[in-house]
Symmetry: C2
Amino acid sequence: MIEHTVSFTLKHPAGSAEEKDFIESLRDITNMPGVQNFRINRQVSSKGPFAFQISMWFDTQAELDAYDASKAHVDYVHERWIPEVTEWQTLDFVEI
Amino acid sequence: MIEHTVSFTLKHPAGSAEEKDFIESLRDITNMPGVQNFRINRQVSSKGPFAFQISMWFDTQAELDAYDASKAHVDYVHERWIPEVTEWQTLDFVEI
C-alpha cells in the first residue's frame, strides 16, 4: 500500500463560498479508479505551512501512476487545481 | 482524532547503520502516552522533499500537546532528533 498526500493552500479567503466549493469538488476524486480511504483534512499545526491536505491510498505505485495520468485527474488539475491553489506539496508514503 | 506527522531527512547516508539505528530508535515513540497507530514511512515521491515521515494519531489536541511537552519526547528531540535530522516539517491533520 502507498499513501498519496498533497498539502495545499487556496487563494480563496478562509470560510468563503469559493473555499467551500473547492473542498466539495475534491470529493469527486473518491470515485476515481484505484483511490481508497480518501480524506480531506484541515492542517492545524501552527508550525507547518499549508491550510489543507488530501490523503488517499493505492494498492500499488502502478495504480497511483495510472490515477495521476488519468484524463479525469489531468482535467481536474487544469480546471480547478491550478487556478485555485496557490502552493502545494506532494508526499507519498510507504510504511517501513 | 488528530493525525500528527513529521517529515524529515537524516544526515546519515542512505542504507547506513546509523540510519537504521535512528529509524529503530523512533519505535520507542510508540510507547509514549496518547500515541496511537504509530507508523514510520519512507517518502517515495520524486516531486516531494524529505526521505522519511512519522505519523501518529491522538484522540485530542490536548493529548498531542501533552506528548509534545513530555520529558520523554523533549529528551528524545535533544538526544537524537536535533543531532541527526537535517530538515523537517510538522503537519497535523483533522478530517473535514
